[in-house]
């Protein structure tokens, strides 16, 4: 048997320029993506250092964090946008970076836009100043989220200094029930493994459940890698990956595409490759999942009840458990179902893709959003918005009482003045239920687009 290697190791080696001291490696970066917030900060750094970018042809930008999502918005509709957007757009001009601005038909959330227009390709190393860069790994890329200094380093040298992480494989097996989405599956995984299981690891998702998943579902899965502590999340490319890429605007064509297909086979993890940690999770018969607490591991099934403090392992776990109960205003033993909500949000780099919106719209079946609930749907990109409107989804949502928005991060990061009213309870298809993330004292429950719609229609968790 030939030498067996994981996809992560293969891509890392292909991009290794030099081994440095302290077990650090110098890694070549193929593409760099920037959004408005990390962009504005890094441009300031570039200005101060009076330096230039190494290769502007590998850098792409689109605003997503600070623009408002109301119809007729401009970059300056929000207060934060007013500060950030001019620095961002000026910087793109000054450093000659290709920008998909708010008036561009491709604008949207950077982690949705770059795969969707064929900029994220299998085998590439990708860097972006955002922790959810792991999302692109669904295409078989090695993609990492960076802070400003490292992003500056990447832009001025086209490489990064990084320690090679250990590898972990999470194999998802079993039979998926039809109403179970990728969001339910990843929330279930987090509830089983906890949110620090992958600190210091690169996670590869595999198994029959992943192989059967659509590309859009795979993005949702990889999006959560960072929520379990991993800097990288990956899925070996297969026929579905190749089908997804074919024909996209920036994807290779003709002979180049043939080369990419060959490259996909080359980089896929070898059958018998060994991982530092190997985990199998059976998802047979799991029900829809929802978070009840203040981190992404505090998750239960939709028919479940809030767990008991007695079941927590250590005193420290007990403390954080009690903090979660108190912040969320929940009691052990209480049903999660029928809990009254004030706000529902569907969108984000986790669940703002076309298939998510189709699932959500299909579940409406002529009903209306319950009185007193503010329900908002924000497509992940202009291309998704366009496609959804061609299908008439915007009408289905509007007729039911949902607000239909312009693409952006919106109620996920709340960096654009859009935040959930203080003290409210919100069901959200996003990826973080941290204290205060969606607004002051806002109680966030993470769930799938289907659960979000059913909740909006009934006015309580459903």
């Amino acid at each position: 048997m030939s030498y067996q290697q994981t996809m992560f190791d293969k891509i890392w080696e292909m991009h290794l320029i030099k081994k440095l001291e302290d077990q650090n490696d110098l890694i070549a970066i193929d593409r760099i993506f920037i959004h408005d917030v990390c962009g504005a900060f890094v441009f300031k750094m570039l200005d101060e250092a009076k330096t230039v970018v190494a290769d502007n042809t590998r850098i792409y930008a689109t605003p997503d964090h600070t623009p408002a999502t109301v119809m007729g918005r401009t970059g300056e509709t929000s207060k934060t946008g007013k500060r950030i957007m001019p620095i961002f757009t000026e910087g793109c001009k000054k450093y000659k970076i290709r920008l998909f601005d708010l008036d561009d038909p491709r604008q949207g959330i950077v982690h949705i836009v770059c795969p969707e227009i064929g900029l994220s390709l299998p085998g590439m190393t990708i860097a972006c100043g955002d922790s959810h860069t792991c999302t692109h790994g669904a295409l078989g890329t090695l993609s990492i989220g960076l802070g400003t200094t490292q992003l500056y380093h990447a832009m001025t040298t086209s490489c990064i200094i990084a320690k090679k992480p250990k590898t972990m494989r999470i194999r998802l097996e079993g039979k998926r029930r039809p109403e179970i989405s990728a969001m339910d599956i990843i929330l279930f995984v987090l509830s089983k493994l906890g949110i620090e299981v992958a600190v210091g690891y690169a996670v590869e998702f595999s198994g029959s459940v992943v192989r059967e998943m659509s590309m859009e579902d795979r993005f949702t899965l990889c999006n959560f890698s960072v929520e379990m502590g991993a800097e990288y999340g990956l899925i070996s490319p297969d026929e579905k990956t190749i089908d997804y890429i074919q024909g996209r605007e920036f994807a290779p064509q003709g002979e180049d595409m043939d080369k990419l297909i060959a490259h996909c086979h080359e980089i896929a993890s070898d059958k018998y490759s060994v991982y530092d940690k190997d985990i199998v999770i059976d998802i047979t018969n799991i029900e829809r999942q929802i978070s009840w607490g203040i981190n992404t591991g505090q998750v239960i099934g939709i028919s479940g009840t809030i767990p008991d403090a007695k079941d927590q392992k250590s005193d420290k776990d007990k403390d954080s458990f009690l903090e979660a109960c108190s912040y969320m205003d929940l009691k052990p033993g209480q049903n999660i179902r029928r809990l009254k909500v004030d706000h529902v949000f569907i969108g984000s780099c986790a669940n703002g893709r076309l298939s998510n919106l189709v699932t959500a719209a299909d579940a409406i079946k002529g009903r209306k959003v319950a009185r007193g609930v503010k329900a908002v749907v924000v497509p992940g990109s202009m291309l998704i918005k366009q496609a959804a409107e061609t299908m008439g989804l915007d009408k289905i949502f509007s007729n039911a009482g949902f607000i239909w928005g312009m693409p952006g991060c919106s109620y996920c990061t709340c960096s654009n003045d859009e935040h959930v009213a203080s003290g409210s309870r919100c069901v959200s298809t996003t990826n973080r239920n941290f204290i205060g993330r969606q607004g002051v004292n806002v109680r966030t429950h993470l769930a799938s687009p289907l659960t979000a719609v059913l909740t909006a229609l009934s006015g309580s968790i459903e």
Binding site: S131, L146, T149, V199, V226, H419
Partner: protein, 168 residues
Amino acid sequence: MELIRGKVLVSLGDHIDTDLISPGKFLTSYEPEYLGSICLCEYAPDFREKVRAGGLLIAGKNFGCGSSRETAPIALQAAGVRAVIAEEFARIFYRNAINVGLPCIECPDTLKSISVGDEVEVDLAKGIVVNITKSMHIVGEPASEKLIEILEGGGLMANLKSRLLSTR
């Protein structure tokens, strides 16, 4: 820099995320002074007051999880935190902290062995935290010479700047 001596001023639990440290809605400026003023402002409104004099912060597992915003370590530093001792750091936060010159040391059992008010001495090179008040020490991850050099120079950028200037 190799030895950082000071009083532990604040203790935080597990999974303190960067949204708590530097909330998204305030991300309009990169000025340390401003970031220090918003540091943990909603989660622990008295934080600024407690660390103003300068001292150490202790925390549990997965410190700095979540968003990759580098404003988080800058905010802690500007608020008065001279070093963070935690049981475990989220990797992106750790890299950002070193790059901005905020010393971080990973020590299992931090919260069991150190309390607020303790006088401690952190030896980065040896990876040892001596708890002077309790007359005990805990062993953590040592930092390499290179890493200490970066921290001593005030972070990666400040370091490069002074190195480039000296070679000119």
